[in-house]
Symmetry: C2
Subunit: 371 residues, 2 copies
């Protein structure tokens, strides 16, 4: 199932997240050194996210052997629950990046419409910067998913997480320098070499580089999916704050400036929709105390949470977005998303803070498989 | 995915093994207290069996998290390798028994053609008689397979292993009293109650009970699939010996007598094809010494092996059968199988003795999923 040559050479491209999905993939959180109170809250919220997505498209949740029965019992019957070992449950970053092509368009690999990219993964920074000390199970997740689905696999030795790239499906890739050019990922690749790899893997031809990701998003070194995303070709949603004293302000303003001066692969100017962040929010004493000290990054009370509404998932006809208990900003976010996605039903997940405590949000724990 | 009512009430029946398959399921052996030399020989032979079957139909091999990469590396690429935990690798007995129905014929469960029965399992006899001390992972295998395939599941609390029944797909069930009426399986069910359950689960209406299974087949308490099987409706193949001093003789003669006087569900007399057993064969010192003493039944040198050629798998257009290094009997078996299956290609697996050392053979490690 492993063709030679790059996906683009076979006519594949990464579709926009709003293009039709056959399925959503998720993991199941369990590590007590990242998810407080033995992951019981995180599991409840993951189950909620899975349930909401499953109203729009089929969902598969993967859980370890130890957790399979627990996951099965906590998820609705129509959600498929498979056994799979993992080091943590960030399927955006460890599941394959799926690519598609028109059946008629391309010669080569078995004529299959969907394929998957299996990037290299170093736990968001490798030894020294990793979020936990052993990621040997994470590394196999993409391959196992492609095996289950009998989808061709393109292995790639460049380190990359799915959450560090966004595409519009029409040739444009949106990403951050803070992450992709970080020496803890691919120190031997220049910006140009990285662009070349992404062109041949994602089928893109134009890059928009934001300098930095969200303030406080140190776990991922500023993943794009926590600060900015496409709503459709030519339109992005950018995490914003009006508070000039917030260190987020200069990051958002800088991104706004880049986006305002950018054109996409089709030559369009970019329309930027601002979406105000909640809070600022901080980890509480109780929350930090619930995380066991073992083999993962320590979690401290008073840490600024990298909380952002753009970390949502676009399902078939639905947008599943986090809310944070900040009434004013939650309501604003709901309204902004409803108007950005007039053809989608927007669903806000109330306890999404629990996912944020673990270092990401709804987009980070999901991965769409195109139809 | 769990309907109320029995499979038969929805129009399902267990098909004959020669009816079209969509796939064959197998496990991956690893326990060093059942498979000598840390399962290295067994893994080689399982891989060989999987490869041969894959020439006739798709094959999925399930391996534990620890063994997944090893299994993946030892199997051809076109075989799908999935992660699944298990206590041992006897998929005939722990995977679901699949049933089918004509789409047009039956109302009820989602109109799906294929469903699976998830029997209860007590490790071939429960506490005291079990082959190993913990079978908690085995118990979940059938459910996990049905989950992967999104096939409806019929849970059943009666203890039954797939290897203890054979059907002709036309209403007849062939089984042994030694196993099904053994008090270590379902002490609270009478023969009539067991028949009633099997009628409502397998869609059969007539039973042929052989008194005993193969001599020496103590692990399974005389599974039918090691002594006798259907070649097609109205025709069975029976393990035989001409040696009246062999304790197998009276078992085979007794079975022959029962079969000769039986009619099947369609009123046909049964044609019996005799297939001479190899050997007799015994476990060597070296073989016994390679099995670690841990949590499984001990293996002793000089033990008579329950070696039989009827423990084969019928694939789409192929018959995958064991050979044992007994030249004369191996050749006889090949000839008998070729003439019993004129439309199938017969493939003999040379090192099948390795599977026999673990307590079964090719039929015991495979499970067909009907098309």
């Amino acid at each position: 199932m492993e063709p030679n040559g790059s996906p683009a050479s076979y006519g594949y491209r990464m579709p926009g997240e709003w293009e039709r999905h056959s399925r959503c993939w998720m993991g199941w959180p369990e590590r007590p050194d990242n998810w407080r109170d033995d992951a019981q809250h995180a599991q409840r919220v993951f189950a909620r996210v899975a349930s909401e997505i499953s109203k729009f498209e089929p969902v598969t949740v993967c859980a370890s052997s130890q957790e399979w029965e627990n996951a099965r019992s906590k998820l609705p019957k129509h959600i498929r629950v498979l056994e799979m070992s993992m080091d943590d449950a960030w399927f955006r970053d460890i599941a394959p990046t799926f690519v598609v092509r028109d059946k008629s368009s391309s010669p080569g690999y078995d004529g299959q419409r969907v394929a998957g990219i299996d990037w290299n993964f170093n736990c968001w920074g490798g030894l020294g910067d990793c979020c936990y000390r052993d990621w040997s199970k994470d590394i196999l997740v993409a391959r196992k998913i492609l095996e289950i689905e009998a989808v061709p696999r393109f292995p790639e030795d460049m380190v990359l997480e799915g959450g560090s790239i966004h595409v519009d499906g029409e040739g444009t890739c949106l990403t951050t320098e803070e992450c992709l050019l970080n020496p803890n990922r691919n120190p031997n690749l220049t910006r140009e070499e990285i662009e070349n790899r992404l062109m041949s893997y994602l089928g893109v031809r134009k890059f928009i580089w934001l300098p930095r990701g969200l303030y406080g998003d140190d776990d991922t070194n500023g993943h794009i999916d926590n600060i900015c995303c496409f709503a459709r070709p030519g339109v992005v949603i950018l995490s914003w704050t009006d508070d000039k004293s917030d260190p987020q302000y200069e990051r958002s303003a800088e991104a706004f400036s880049v986006l305002s001066n950018a054109t996409d692969a089709c030559g369009r100017r970019i329309e930027v929709i601002k979406l105000h962040i909640p809070g600022p929010l901080y980890m509480t004493e109780e929350e930090a105390a619930g995380v066991k000290v073992m083999n993962a990054k320590y979690r401290f009370a008073e840490t600024r949470l990298a909380a952002s509404y753009v970390n949502f998932y676009i399902a078939n006809g639905g947008v599943i977005a986090p809310s944070f208990g900040d009434e004013k900003r939650d309501r604003e976010a709901y309204n902004v998303l409803c108007s950005a996605f007039p053809d989608h039903e927007v669903v806000m997940i109330e306890e999404a803070r629990e996912i944020c405590l673990g270092g990401g949000n709804i987009h980070c724990i999901t991965q769409q498989q195109p139809a």
